[in-house]
Symmetry: C2
Subunit: 118 residues, 2 copies
DNA sequence: GTAAACACTTACCCAGGCGTAACCACTTAC
DNA sequence: GTAAGTGGTTACGCCTGGGTAAGTGTTTAC
């Protein structure tokens, strides 16, 4: 995007992930393929509109597969593509960083653990 | 943030990175420590306001160190903290994913390479 | 005396990302 | 007949993240 980023695929990755619910969706689909309603219940805070929208974007980016099983009523299954799965794997390193960051933040936090309890 | 993300540090990492210029700044500081003006020139599209703001946020998140060298005029040097450097390392995997994604996108693009030329 | 570099801050504005709520079409169950 | 589950779409509105422009205070150079 910017000249400094020309040689860095990170911006591409970030663009695919940005969107308030995409990480949640990717996480959830990383566990198993899911239908729309199940996804919605797995991420209670998301609205149907946003879930549909983010899924469509993820599909357009080739991260998520959308498979319609005909029937009455029709059922739609979402799953990770290879690319989406690869993204999840690549994200694992950042995930670990985040967890480590949370732990050190806990330790250096302004509020001591007992202060929270007391 | 959401129940599904409780066990995933990725949200933490993402929160630290989100902000239009933070990746650029982190990238640039990953090469070497930089002064404000130099950073600004390295990322031409960023405004002074945004650069200052994002640097302050990165500093608050413990990713960037801000060192003031007294003198006339005072000089301020920004550098990555250990944590910031670790983030850069962790991001490398996603970076590679992004580059791979760009390549496959080129191949599977709707417009053939010759079509662009012709 | 004025411009430019140093490193910012402040005030104001706008677009778009996100949220709420309603609507769609079909089927099963009460 | 009405609600609930299947999987969405559409209209509308707000809020915040980011952009523009200008101001701040000191020093050096022309």
């Amino acid at each position: 995007m910017n000249p400094t980023m020309e040689n860095c695929g990170f911006a591409t990755a970030l663009k695919a992930i940005e969107g308030k619910w995409k990480v949640d969706i990717l996480c959830e689909l990383g566990r198993a393929a899911r239908r729309f309603g199940r996804l919605r219940r797995s991420i209670p805070a998301v609205s149907e509109k946003m879930l549909a929208q983010q899924l469509r974007e993820l599909e357009a980016d080739g991260l998520v597969d959308r498979t319609v099983h005909a029937g009455q009523p029709a059922k739609v299954v979402y799953s990770l593509t290879e690319r989406g799965a690869a993204l999840n794997v690549a994200a694992a390193a950042l995930c670990r960083w985040g967890e480590a960051a949370e732990r050190t933040a806990d330790r250096s936090s302004a509020v001591a653990p007992d202060a929270v309890v007391a």
